[in-house]
């Protein structure tokens, strides 16, 4: 059993409040991506205020990953706009990439490199000051200290997720994009990851967008949920209001209603 999270010094110094900013951290306007004749994302518009934490939900092929890829500048929209941290994506992506990061179990870290080597390389790429101290700090926070000099490929799935999370937090990002951050983790490790994300958000006021199929995770972490289906936004509200409107007990039931086309009560 993993030991309980210990109270620790604040490793992620708070930045100036970002809620006062006029522009949201992320905004899309009629964002569309068409592959040949298929619209993977079909004219979606939403805005994420600074410091918010939002779940992006939908079945396989709903358009979540394509949306996140466009927000990161990895995929060029067919039409519409995506603005991230004040930069148009992908045209001005280098203005934003320094201040954001991404974690997904589907994007791996070089396996032959040790954890410390991987964090050193990414820390240098992001221009992290006092990198060695930063790696020690983040390793302590994510309980990686004993693993720092082991090859990443020799770690368990849960340990690799923590390393990916360490990479995603190495530059203390203002915006964190997470694609199924706890996929394939056991409940204990998944709970531990969620508690770290909650803590990070509380300490730094970071904006988070989480694509997930785990409804319990979304209920716990997210103050807002965007449901996508066939590339469109099907619903967008707080978890509490969604439960109320659909007359359901859990987000999973709401998810099934949305996926199967059942209308909300009002």
């Amino acid at each position: 059993m993993r030991r309980a999270a210990q109270p620790a010094k604040c490793l992620f110094p708070k930045r100036i409040s970002m809620d006062a900013r006029a522009e949201p951290a992320v905004s899309t306007e009629r964002l569309t991506k068409v592959y040949k004749t298929t619209a993977a994302v079909d004219g979606i518009s939403f805005a994420l205020p600074y410091g918010s934490i939002t779940g992006l939900l939908g079945g396989n092929g709903a358009g979540k990953t394509t949306t996140i890829a466009m927000l990161m500048g990895l995929t060029t929209p067919t039409s519409g706009t995506a603005r991230v941290l004040g930069a148009d994506m992908p045209r001005e992506r280098y203005r934003a990439l320094q201040r954001m990061n991404f974690e997904s179990p589907y994007v791996e870290m070089p396996m032959r490199l040790t954890v410390r080597q991987n964090l050193t390389v990414f820390g240098m790429l992001y221009g992290v000051a006092q990198l060695s101290a930063r790696i020690d700090e983040i390793a302590a926070e994510l309980e990686l200290t004993d693993l720092l000099d082991r090859p990443t490929g020799k770690l368990s799935a849960g340990q690799k997720t923590r390393v990916s999370l360490a990479k995603a937090l190495i530059n203390a990002p203002d915006l964190l994009l997470l694609d199924e951050p706890t996929a394939s983790l056991d409940p204990d490790t998944a709970d531990w990851v969620r508690s770290r994300l909650e803590r990070y958000r509380a300490e730094r006021g970071v904006t988070m967008l989480i694509a997930s199929h785990n409804m319990a995770e979304v209920e716990r972490l997210c103050e807002r949920v965007i449901f996508m289906k066939r590339g469109r936004i099907e619903d967008d509200d707080t978890p509490a209001r969604l439960l109320q409107r659909y007359g359901r007990e859990t987000l999973e039931e709401v998810f099934l209603d949305v996926a199967r086309g059942r209308e909300a009560a009002q």
Binding site: Y35, Q98, R112, L113
Partner: protein, 270 residues
């Protein structure tokens, strides 16, 4: 918060070089492979040269022309391969997504791959040149300034081909990996590594003279057989290399843009 955006960062280039250096250092097999093939090639051609020298007055006169050719060919081939393999390492490790969402710029990525191709080549070729002295008394280093000109031009071509192949892999996934291993072999007959351009039919000579390495191999033969350093050939090679490199960079950027349009940057499989 305004963030200063640096357009080209030596620190990020250094980060990528460090990443590949860590990888190389972690794998004894990778290090051995860098030396193994150039050594085998050099020994095989060296013994053939020794045999031919006893049979033909030309080969007796032009000591080292075959060993020199094979070693310069390895500079070209290994230069490209060193570039492409470092790039492929990102595909194999499924790390490209992490790099593409980092502040790393394409120019910095390419610069790091170029540095790595030199490092990999040095690890492989320096011991082989010493072996050539020991086994056959052929000292590549004795070519002096000419060697520097040959090396620079061949590396330039290797990088241009490496950049183009990386663009193909970026756009089409690991299905295009085979180009990284095979594309340079098209240069082997066309750039006249082991024979003069005059051997080719007229129409093929025109193609040969459009490729920068042809001038290097002709220049090497002029030096080893005629004992003349043909600076004019090196300048022509450099000019063609500048064109070829520019075209490769444009193709890479076009293929990268295409990969962004087609959403293939996150999917680094086949």
């Amino acid at each position: 918060m305004s963030v200063a955006v640096q357009t080209f960062s030596p620190r990020r280039v250094g980060a990528m070089v460090l990443r590949y250096w860590y990888l190389l250092r972690s794998s004894f097999a990778r290090l051995i492979e860098l030396i193994y093939w150039p050594a085998v090639q050099m020994l095989m051609w060296g013994f053939l040269q020794t045999y031919l020298a006893g049979q033909s007055s030309l080969y007796a006169r032009a000591g080292g022309v075959l060993i020199g050719a094979v070693m310069l060919w390895d500079v070209l081939f290994r230069g490209q391969l060193g570039f492409s393999i470092s790039f492929l390492e990102e595909m194999w490790s499924r790390n490209l997504g992490n790099l593409m969402i980092s502040p790393l710029r394409p120019a910095e990525f390419v610069a790091a791959l170029m540095v790595m191709s030199i490092i990999r080549l040095a690890i492989g070729m320096v011991p082989v040149t010493l072996l050539a002295i020991w086994f056959f008394g052929f000292n590549l280093w004795a070519l002096g300034i000419a060697l520097a000109a040959f090396f620079a031009n061949l590396m330039f071509t290797g990088w241009a081909v490496g950049i183009f192949v990386s663009g193909l892999v970026l756009r089409n996934g690991l299905g295009a990996e085979t180009f990284a291993w095979s594309i340079m072999f098209l240069f082997l007959p066309l750039t006249c590594v082991y024979y003069p351009v005059s051997v080719l039919p007229d129409w093929l000579q025109a193609i040969a003279w459009s490729l920068p390495p042809t001038y290097v191999f002709e220049g090497m033969r002029a030096l080893l057989i005629g004992h003349i350093f043909r600076a004019d050939l090196m300048i022509q090679s450099l000019a063609l290399n500048a064109v070829m490199f520019s075209l490769a960079v444009l193709a890479f950027l076009a293929l990268l843009a295409s990969a962004r349009r087609n959403g293939t940057l996150m999917q680094t499989g086949e």
